[in-house]
């Protein structure tokens, strides 16, 4: 176990490192001694290195230097990079050197030195550059050991060569000093990277060719390549397809492109459309991050450009491993102590969770410690705690988890309920239920019934739950870091398919709820997708189809759900839902919405409502034709909503006159109730009158013909209804009352 492993590791590591260090010091001293005697030799070695690099085509070599930084920049250690705020800096500081107070002294030093030492080099042409620089170096060496390395562009920016450069320059420094300097340089390099572009741009504008030469190599390189970002024209792009891909230049181009797009007015190239830039960006992003075009486009719809890059970068990095304490068996403090004793490095998850722990590193497999086996904790992503917290099941309630595998959320619910009440854990896959059984028993949860239904059939099996959690199956666009296959495997039809399934599931989840429940009547809908089609759209659909309303999730962070997305407009209350993103919350992409069911009646149930989405086939639940025959058109009209009319139109041939009439006759009571509620009075009334007329028309006309005309009629009717006066409304209300009586 951990206890055994630790000492062995230490034994191996300790002396090895130490000896290495000592050796290094020795060699350094040796070098130092030798250097003084044979300086030309050293110089020549460096020159050789230079020469080797020069011989390579100048562009890639220089880019390499520039490139290494960005890749370093996006590792987990530099979490600042994951934040959008930082990202915008270069754009804000577009004027480069003057306003960059944070410009590093080192850099200034460099320039000074370079200007002082290498004046000849400035004018040297490309071939002569080498020699010039050698001279520079020689001068720098003599002048100041400390600053020289700054002149050495490779040392300043390129990590691999840095070590050697340092050896030579920093002989007189203590190792710790050198380490400090190295780190400082790294930081500087990061900074520079953003500033360089701007510097270059300015210089370019000035048009002074000589300026180029006095810059460091890397900078020079960039100047050569991309002074001011230019859109490659069609020919260039075609060429690109033939040439082998150079990811680094593409990355640079993405950065520049984003920079231009975020300051479009000032940085655009004359005569180029935004669309041109965008299309290039899309192409580059999909090559660089290896997404398919479809997904990039979708993501571009969701995020602004700069945030999109952050999102994509965040998807390349794994989220931290988190565990949830099982409070049925232990307390978080005890668990943390036990794990620390096993050699696990951990921390509390955040203020918002009292049971979560983040695992930084561990000398033992975290999924096989005796504590894990004893059920004291569950390996669970931070994001999957959120829906349960939103649901907040109470003791003694009956709760349904519609797709429970692998029971992370189910067991969390059980621990919130302290093993009282009933949890029905359902999953469609029998295979995945095995892990559910294991986890539920391991964590000592005793109040569950595990069953294996398709969630869509659930209302037929059981109903009347106080709370329902629907963690719908989804395309998984929020968890790309876990499953990179999503990048390329999803397309429009996948999204549509899962959206369709989700719509079916959310309706059946709502139908399983009991609105009369004293404590509950809540549904939490969540997905690990960030697609609007699978989230807001689905919830919006549910809002239209059932008597539910959105309520605050109780989560005090996360981004608000969209109320408008492209051409779609969702119910304004959708801002109560919450979205979580990998780049801004450092957890998996997630969507959580909490709905409250306020009436058990199902408002309208036409056999198919393709108004939302043409691909949706007819609902499984066909309304039973109501027994009471329609007494007057008014009653029919009430239940019928404009949406349905649309549906009918779309269905065309399918809906015969009779069928429509039947549908129309459905559930005037439901609407009546609403009217009593007073909330939706005007709306219903409007709809009512509108449809009354339609129905009348319907009766007189022949089916299909009528339906064709209906579209036009509806439009005009809409206008009419807008002018619905009070009197008319009252009249209508009276009519209704009569009918009920």
């Amino acid at each position: 176990m951990g206890r055994k492993l630790d000492p062995t590791n230490k034994v191996k590591r300790g002396p090895g490192r130490k000896s290495r260090k000592q050796k290094g010091a020795e060699t350094e001293i040796a070098k130092f001694l030798v250097d003084e005697e044979t300086e030309p030799k050293r110089l020549s070695s460096r020159a050789r290195k230079r020469a080797a690099k020069r011989t390579q085509p100048s562009v890639p070599a220089k880019e390499e230097a520039a490139k290494k930084q960005p890749q370093k920049g996006f590792t987990d250690e530099n979490s600042e990079w994951l934040k959008p705020a930082k990202r915008k800096r270069p754009a804000d500081e577009s004027d480069g050197e003057e306003d960059s107070d944070s410009e590093w002294e080192q850099e200034e030093d460099e320039e000074g030195v370079v200007k002082g030492a290498g004046l000849e080099a400035e004018k040297a042409d490309e071939d002569g550059e080498e020699e010039g620089e050698e001279e520079e170096e020689a001068g720098g060496d003599e002048d100041s050991d400390g600053d020289e390395e700054m002149v050495d562009d490779y040392g300043a920016t390129d990590d691999s060569s840095e070590g050697e450069g340092d050896d030579a320059d920093g002989e007189e420094l203590l190792p710790i000093e050198r380490a400090a300097r190295k780190q400082k340089k790294l930081e500087a390099a990061m900074e520079q990277e953003s500033d360089e572009d701007e510097e270059e741009e300015e210089e370019e504008e000035e048009g002074s060719g000589s300026e180029h030469a006095d810059e460091e190599d890397t900078v020079q390189a960039n100047i050569d390549e991309m002074d001011r970002f230019k859109l490659p024209d069609a020919e260039d792009r075609e060429k690109e397809g033939l040439l082998p891909l150079d990811l680094q230049s593409i990355h640079q181009r993405i950065k520049d492109n984003v920079d231009v797009l975020s300051n479009f007015a000032s940085k655009r190239e004359e005569g180029k459309e935004r669309a041109d830039y965008l299309s290039l960006l899309k192409k580059d992003l999909s090559t660089y991050y290896s997404y398919n075009n479809f997904l990039i486009e979708k993501l571009l719809d969701i995020f602004p450009v700069s945030e999109l890059i952050d999102f994509l970068e965040a998807n390349e990095v794994h989220r931290p491993v988190t565990i949830r304490t099982n409070t049925l068996k232990t307390r978080r403090r005890d668990l943390a102590q036990a794990l620390i004793n096993r050699g696990v490095n951990l921390d509390p998850l955040g203020k918002w969770s009292k049971v979560g722990l983040v695992i930084f590193d561990s000398s033992v497999p975290i999924g096989a410690t005796p504590e894990y086996l004893a059920g004291q904790y569950m390996l669970q992503g931070a994001s999957s705690l959120l829906p349960v917290m939103a649901l907040s099941p109470q003791e003694g309630e009956s709760v349904l988890d519609m797709s429970c595998a692998p029971a992370g959320k189910t067991t969390y619910m059980a621990q919130l309920m302290r093993n009282t009440g009933v949890i029905v854990a359902n999953d469609a896959s029998a295979e995945r239920l095995k892990s559910v059984v294991g986890n539920i028993h391991r964590l000592g949860v005793t109040n569950t019934v595990i069953c294996n239904y398709d969630g869509r059939q659930f209302p037929k099996v059981m109903g009347g739950f106080d709370r329902v959690l629907l963690d719908a199956p989804c395309s998984g666009t929020g968890v790309i870091s876990k499953d990179p296959a999503v990048k390329t495997s999803k397309d429009e039809s996948d999204i549509q398919r899962s959206a369709h399934l989700q719509k079916e599931l959310i309706l059946s989840a709502i139908d399983s709820l009991n609105a009369e429940s004293k404590t509950g009547g809540y549904l939490v809908y969540c997905t690990c997708s960030i697609m609007v089609e699978e989230n807001e759209w689905v919830v919006d659909y549910a809002l239209k189809k059932r008597n539910v309303k959105l309520v605050p999730t109780g989560l005090d962070f996360g981004k608000e759900g969209f109320t408008r997305f492209k051409e779609r407009r969702f119910h304004p209350s959708l801002r109560l839902s919450r979205r979580f993103y990998p780049h801004s919350h450092n957890m998996d992409g997630f969507f959580v919405a909490k709905l409250k069911k306020f009436s058990n009646t199902v408002p309208t149930l036409p056999p198919g409502e393709p108004a939302e989405e043409e691909t949706v086939p007819a609902e499984t639940e066909t309304p039973a034709p109501s027994k009471e025959s329609p007494k007057n058109p008014g009653s029919k009209g009430k239940a019928k909503k404009p949406l349905k009319v649309k549906a009918d139109i779309a269905k065309g041939k399918v809906a015969t006159n009779g069928a429509v009439a039947k549908k129309v006759a459905k559930k005037p009571e439901a609407v009546l109730k609403k009217i009593k509620d007073g909330k939706k009075k005007p709306k219903v009334a409007k709809e009512g009158t509108e449809t009354v007329k339609e129905v009348k028309a319907e009766e007189t006309n022949e089916g299909s013909k009528f339906e064709k005309n209906m579209g036009k009629k509806r439009k005009t009717l809409m206008k009419k209804t807008n002018r619905l006066g009070k009197n008319k409304f009252k009249k209508f209300k009276k009519l209704l009352k009569k009918e009920v009586a």
């Binding site: 294991g438 028993h441 391991r442 569950t448």
Partner: protein, 180 residues
């Protein structure tokens, strides 16, 4: 799902009593509601009456598990306790064995407990008495059968077995598929 027959109840209770003795009645008469044993797919589930009522809605082939699984009846009508029953055995266990931290892992991999790994043992444990195995931090790890009496344990050599392994919590991972 059906209640146990007379025979089945007897076999199962006999088995249970090896570990928890007369504490069985604490399992059946609980202050927080009526609990009962139900047989489903040869497995015995221990479940509250309230939950049971709800579970009757679910058709037999769709029901995977309800409450806590205690064990299963073999084809020869013997009863075999599963590790899932540990939650109810551990608090009521009459005889306990504690294993040293070093031997924990070995036991969790399905090995018997050696004298060398034996931390503590309840006084007066008889041979072949059912015992619950704990870690030194009092975390229940599984159960088994005492191979030797407490007295004998004092004398035997370090490599001799003192507790025969029957079930351990490592099975939650090792045999996840066969738990139910």
């Amino acid at each position: 799902m059906r209640p146990l027959t007379e025979d089945e109840t007897k076999t199962m209770f006999e088995k249970l009593s090896k570990y928890i003795g007369e504490n069985i009645k604490l399992l059946v008469d609980r202050p927080d509601g009526t609990y009962c044993f139900r047989l489903h797919n040869d497995r015995v589930y221990y479940v509250s009456e309230k939950i049971l009522k709800l579970a009757t809605n679910i058709s037999r082939d769709k029901l995977v598990s309800v409450g806590t699984c205690f064990g299963k009846f073999t084809k020869t009508q013997k009863f075999r306790l599963h590790i899932t029953a540990l939650d109810f055995l551990a608090p009521y266990a009459k005889f306990k064995v504690w294993v040293k931290p070093g031997a924990e892992q070995s036991f969790l991999y399905g090995n018997h407990v050696m004298k060398s790994g034996l931390g503590r043992i309840t006084e007066n444990t008889a041979q072949y008495q059912g015992v619950v195995v704990y870690s030194m931090a009092d975390v229940p790890l599984g159960f088994g059968v005492a191979a030797k009496t407490t007295q004998e344990c004092r004398r035997v050599d370090p490599m001799s077995i003192v507790v025969f392994h029957q079930a351990d919590i490592g099975e939650f991972i090792r045999s996840e598929d066969t738990l139910t």
